[in-house]
Symmetry: C2
Subunit: 137 residues, 2 copies
């Protein structure tokens, strides 16, 4: 697996998982919808400014983004470690916004509870059929 193949693989997945480290030093994870944008080693998600993950990333930017695919005969997973930035600037919010988001954010694209998570990819661990490879991104 090279870097291009890693990004192709993650672009195909419909669910992403993200992990943070909480105030007590425990890792915490949750499922997310697929990324809004993947570009220049960065992965963008939309989320609620009031969520626990935003609080956790504000205090500790260390993060993991995970994608997996479980087929009948093959299991593939990619765990990428890096830093998560919470973006509340209007330029980034405008860029990541989609029409349907209006359902969740009543005030629209300027809603203070809508923000963007920007993940900087550093190192990927690719798992396939019980083997693991490390790829610097």
């Amino acid at each position: 697996m090279d870097k291009v193949q890693i990004f192709e693989f993650i672009a195909e997945q419909k669910t992403a998982f993200i992990a943070s480290v909480n105030e007590q030093g425990y890792p915490v994870m949750r499922a997310m919808l697929a990324p809004r944008k993947i570009e220049n080693n960065e992965i963008y998600f939309s989320t609620n400014t009031s969520s626990n993950k935003v609080k956790q990333y504000t205090q500790n930017e260390k993060a993991c983004v995970y994608f997996y695919k479980r087929g009948r005969f093959k299991y593939q997973g990619v765990a990428i470690t890096g830093e998560m930035e919470v973006c509340t600037d209007q330029k980034t919010k405008d860029e990541i916004w989609r029409f349907g988001d209006k359902l969740f954010y009543k005030q629209g694209v300027t809603d203070p509870d809508y923000c963007v998570l920007k993940f900087k990819c550093r190192t990927a661990e690719y798992y396939c059929d019980f083997k693991v490879e490390t790829i610097e991104l």
Copy 2:
């Protein structure tokens, strides 16, 4: 969601996700097969003694175990934080072993590369349709 319902929910899922904190302080996650046993607030997995996760849990027991279900109209997820113990004692290995494991561990149930991860559940965060509840386990 109460404690009983949380354990019922996780017993139904075919994939578990576990997170650790690595040597550099980054959270790392991976998919696992369903737990081998769930009992007395503890969740058991089988794994390779030589794996990165065993190294990470030996250095830092703080862990998260996550389960989710994504239906057509409903998304549910449970993230449980707690401590992960690496068990290499023969009694625990005997108890968790299944016949099919012989495929992966040539030396059978005494194979030094076969070990058990025992997770002690502390706190669950249950996510359902954009709401979150915290349950002490």
